[in-house]
């Protein structure tokens, strides 16, 4: 189209404020999905804080579409479809079911996965270095850590022999963690009491079993089901004076005795970092999956005191998070 000089000048003049406005007005839309409850994992303020660290201000240049499936995995496909329809720029998921739903239904919308086990082992991604497709995120060192937790538990409470493992038996990833614990227990001569749960009601069954035949300690594998019922587990442990080890520090803050696992904050930090790269135009395929590189040991001295326990120095000396 031939342009008169006047048109060009007018366009140039018009484009100045328009471009400046566009830069201010560009609002990124980020979908946050968890199978768990509201305010957990990626829906938590801690996640929003990581975005804020990168210069995003909610309501100004970023909008979050927060979706919690409340443990109902059949709601996830609808949630993903809804986010895609809303044209979010990136979807950040927590949990394997959320990641799997996103992989299946998000289409070209980039996905950043968290808390979904080892994405390579579960087939979400081709490899850490080259995930392929539209998925990247933070991988988990899932199974091996169960053995480490058992060892930490044993070191914290040397008298422990029989350990009840609470896990979501419906979740393959969680079952892998249980199995790792079982292997380690066998190696060091401990006893595992498997207490697989599939629904909130199953916890009552597990509790009654533990009441009938009390273990020396509890190891809770963290997934949405157990997280949603964490309060009941923590209360039960306190009530029955059972030492319990968890995967993440937040459960220790909620009253759990101790935990060993990746630093959640750094997981959020990396997830937000990857989402940021995607928002700035990077392709997920170019962003390798990242393994958590920081682990933390959290101990709750209050709970220990209540249980009449004293942590040995080898535990205290390496505790990253101590609740007094």
């Amino acid at each position: 189209m031939p342009l008169s000089r006047r048109t060009v000048v007018a366009a140039a003049l018009a484009s100045l404020p328009a471009r400046a406005f566009a830069q201010i007005a560009k609002v990124y839309r980020v979908g946050l999905v968890t199978i768990g409850g509201p305010d957990t994992t990626v829906l938590s303020p801690a996640m929003a804080k990581e975005f804020a660290q990168l210069g995003y201000i909610e309501g100004k240049n970023i909008e979050f579409e927060r979706r919690a499936a409340q443990g109902k995995s059949d709601r996830l496909p609808g949630i993903i479809d809804d986010l895609v329809a809303k044209h979010v720029d990136v979807i950040v998921t927590a949990s394997y079911p959320a990641a799997a739903a996103a992989k299946e239904r998000a289409g070209t919308t980039p996905v950043v996965v968290t808390f979904s086990g080892d994405p390579v082992a579960t087939g979400l991604a081709a490899s850490l270095a080259h995930p392929g497709g539209n998925i990247t995120g933070v991988s988990e060192i899932a199974a091996e850590l169960s053995a480490k937790r058992l060892a930490v538990l044993k070191e914290a409470v040397p008298s422990v022999h029989a350990v009840a493992v609470l896990w979501n038996a419906d979740d393959l990833g969680m079952t892998l963690r249980y199995q790792a614990a079982e292997v380690e227990a066998e190696r060091v001569g401990m006893l595992i009491v498997p207490l697989g749960v599939r629904a909130p009601d199953d916890f009552d069954t597990a509790f009654s079993e533990m009441t009938k035949k009390p273990p020396d300690a509890i190891l809770m594998v963290t997934d949405v089901l157990t997280t949603l019922n964490r309060k009941r587990v923590i209360d039960f442990a306190a009530e029955h004076h059972l030492p319990a080890i968890y995967e993440y520090a937040n459960l220790v803050h909620d009253g759990g005795l101790l935990s060993y696992g990746p630093d959640q904050r750094s997981i959020f930090e990396r997830a937000a970092g990857l989402a940021n790269r995607i928002l700035k135009g990077a392709k997920p395929a170019d962003l390798p999956l990242e393994r958590p590189s920081r682990f933390e040991l959290a101990i709750n001295l209050k709970t220990a005191k209540m249980l009449g326990l004293t942590f040995p120095e080898s535990i205290v000396v390496r505790a990253d998070d101590v609740i007094e």
């Binding site: 390579v120 490899s127 850490l128 270095a129 080259h130 060192i141 091996e144 850590l145 053995a147 480490k148 058992l150 060892a151 380690e184 060091v188 790269r277 990077a282 170019d286 962003l287 390798p288 999956l289 990242e290 393994r291 590189s293 920081r294 682990f295 120095e313 080898s314 000396v317 390496r318 990253d320």
Partner: protein
Amino acid sequence: MSAHGFSAARRPRRPLFQKYFIVLFAAVVVPLLANGASEAWFGYHDQKVVLGQRLRAEAGSAAGKIQGFLDHITDQLQWTVQLPWGNGSDERHRFDVLRLMRQVPAVVEIMLVDGNGIERLHVSRVDPDDVNNGIDRTNDPAVVGARSDRIWYGPVTLYAGSEPHMTVAVAGARANYGITIAVVNLKLIWDLIASIHVGLSGDAFVLDRAGQLVAHPDISLVLRGENDPAAARLKELQQATVAGGGEAIEGRDAERRVVIAAMAPISGPDWMAFVEEPASEAFAPLRAALWRTAMLLLAGAVFAATLAYLLARRMIGPIRLLGQGAAAIGAGHFDHKIDIATGDELESLAQRFNEMAGELALSQERSERIARLKRFLAPQVAELVEGSGQEILLDSHRAEVVAIFCDLRGFTSFSHAARPEVMMGLVQEYYEALGTIITRYEATLTCFMGDGLMLLLNAPVPCPNPALRGVQMGLEMQAAVQPLMSRWQARGHAIGFGMGLAKGPAIVGLIGYEGRSDYTAIGNVVNLASRICGVAEDGQILIDAAVAAEIGDELPLMPLGSRMLRGLTEAVSVFSVRPTDSNFAKLPSANALAVQRNARQS
């Protein structure tokens, strides 16, 4: 032709204005350009040298930081080899390790090997601790390396093809203190490397000797592992730097930006720290300087052009004025004044032009005056009168003059009979015959009257013996006219030629009006000469007594006695001049008269 027509009519092929403009413009712009170009050239080279030095310093600083990161780890590891093995020191060794791992997050695994090369403790962040597994690590390269060098750095390996790890081993001061082997997650250098900024958007990265990317602000680039095309570009940069002897070089970085990169070695693990700065940014000051120079050059060129234009116009303006002036003067406008006040040669040239115009005006005036005098004076006399400034002679005054009248006899009847062209042919021949003689004798012609003439001698220019001279002239005129007369008479025309001369006082002077004036004499002598002529017959020269008295014996005269002439109250004595050959011989020629006069003049 108008004065303005000068430039249009003869437009120069290569105008002076153009030449002046080009020369003046070049005089300013050429040095300016040369200066600008040399400044840009040397500026570029200086900038490059300075840039190279700066980037190498930055690389050194980055290398220092990375080395510091590694030194921190090895320093911490040193704490674990301060105690000898045995005597129940196992627990203390373990505490050292646990503390260290709490202290140094980058260490993901630690193995303690005792003095005998046996692994005593294996602590991992992921796996349960392994105590006294008895693995013999005597030949482990880490153990061998640490034993010989105290500190040993292993190669960079990629965990699961993604995360770079490196094994570091330190040996205690004594063999018994054992050796600590640590696996370091190099991903944790990221915070450090990401915090290094070079310029505005430059950054740093680290490669090992083999070109494996160890650290980069884009952690994804590191995690993509081997065979990544972006990382391969960094490897090329490394190879180019090594080939270039460590000097800063230009290349493309992982993001394909054109960058200037410099390298500094990290001696411990034999890595190389690189810093890179986008070339566009690195040369920004130079580009700014170039822009400045270009702008100055442009401003200089505009200034030079303006100056050259003004100067050239200033120089050309007077020349144009001179040209127009010359055209105006050429067109006869002698009063045209060329007004140039430049105070230089052009002004004096304009003055010369003005003077020349004045002189031309004078000269033209003079030639006009001469032309006017020539109407009645012989040319030589006219020029003499004009040139010598004796114009006072023309003023009216009383003078003793010889008045000479001559005319044709029978001309009136001839003119009636003859055809006009025949008549005019005769008159023409007649006057041509007389004209040369009159001029020769320097007689003053006062007027033509058809077939007659009136001449004066001794006025306005006096001459010696005017009467004798008048008679001699008359004789020559008769001698010249008579052959003509004979020819015409032979054709049957009854015409003749007679003359009358008288001498006496008269008032002489110019009469007439503006532009048309004749010299004439007024007095009785004129009347008398006319009357005498009226009675003269063909071939006769009649003179009055005054003339005869002056001639005396010079010529043979024949008294004709007193005669009553028409219009005169008294009778006058009239003489006739009879021409003879001997008489002619006595006469001074007209040429001799001229010589005489010239001698008198000088």
